[in-house]
Amino acid sequence: MEEITFKVAPESKVKKKPSFLKPWLSLKYLFKKPVTIKIPYESIEPAEGYRGFHTLDWNKCVGCNFCGQICPARAIEMTWIEVDGKMEKRPHPKIDYGRCTFCQFCVEVCPPGALGFVESYMLTTEWNEEELQLFDWVPIHPDKFKEIQETYRDWRFPVEKIKFDKETKEVTYYLRNGEEFKFKILGYGIRPPKPPAKPTVKAEEKAQAKPEEKTQTKKPELDAESEKAD
């Protein structure tokens, strides 16, 4: 009717005339420098503040589970950890990159600012149970992460291999710079685990149940590779 003030473009501006000759003008691009990034030889860096992997300052973390509450994918699980025979006073978030969407809302809501993120984004593994352990970790200290990143500068995951002993619940991180980092998972949830053996805690490995054959066929090759890498 009225009132809406559309500024309608004249048809002559919108329409284009077909032409035989004009497409040939694009031949000039033959003499321009290609935009291709030759990936194995060249690299581009992610922008500052790119939402990559998480870091966690274990001393600052108060185990409030705000991160677990905001997580849209419920990738965060509070984990009770024992380092060098001493239990941490508060649970720490364990992040599953099989679920994480890298929205970093968890970092935003973290009250003490313990959870953080770095720009590293690359984690490529073979699909088998041992290597997929890498996708589920308690983040390491930001300084450590940055140090490893500074050494290699290829934006990769700082841990080469995670070994998880199902019986003793002992986890070993083999960092890329050759360091080892051991701790023990006592239980999950925000309440502290009861001291004696706890049958109620289910390890998440059940969720990744696999056929037996696969792991058997994979094992020898994997060991060989990890030796090579070491």
């Binding site: 009717m1 677990g68 905001i70 699980e77 949830g189 109620t200 289910k202």
Partner: protein, 179 residues
């Protein structure tokens, strides 16, 4: 806040009163600038939309079904847009939840066929007169048979566990999580 804005958009009042004159069974109000709201009884929705289309609401943007289990009703919101008036309007109607039936508005807005298929798939609302309700839409047959819907009483987590056979690691202290 809504009251203040109401006063500042007299054009909306005009549109509403003009439309309500033709359709006295409906209730109408101005929400804010360019947002109108109508409440229509379910049996008159076809008449109302016909009147609305004649008075300038050319586009039907969506039919949204909202489940209100406590009231035992499903609310259908017809999102209309008028290009000539430059305003959005919601025509709300309610149908009983157990026997959700309403006549189709396909012959007024042909595109409603698609929206009705969608609402039928997820909210089990039957639109009488729509020939394509039983046609496969988004869900697969096995999901349809298993009763997947977006109604509030559909137990999604239970269904996921049954279907994909996963053990969720958070089951034990579920009350500690918001989700």
């Amino acid at each position: 806040m809504a009251e203040e804005v109401k006063a500042t958009w007299p054009k909306g009042e005009e549109i509403v009163s003009a439309l309500l004159e033709k359709a006295p069974y409906a209730e109408g109000s101005v929400r804010r600038e360019r947002r109108l709201e109508f409440k229509v009884p379910a049996d008159r929705i076809v008449d109302f939309l016909r009147t609305a289309k004649a008075s300038g609401f050319e586009l039907l943007l969506q039919i949204t079904a909202v489940d209100w289990p406590n009231e035992g009703e499903i609310e259908l919101v017809y999102q209309l847009f008028s290009i000539s008036h430059g305003t959005h309007a919601m025509a709300k109607t309610r149908v009983p939840r157990d026997d959700a039936r309403i006549s189709s508005v396909m012959d007024i807005y042909p595109v409603a066929e698609t929206y009705e298929r969608d609402a039928h798939e997820f909210y089990k609302v039957v639109f009488e007169g729509n020939p394509k309700l039983e046609m496969p839409w988004i869900l697969e047959d096995e999901d349809r048979e298993a009763g997947v819907s977006h109604r509030k009483d559909f137990d999604m987590l239970g269904y996921v566990k049954k279907k994909y056979k996963i053990l969720d690691r958070f089951d034990e202290d579920k009350e500690n999580y918001v989700i």
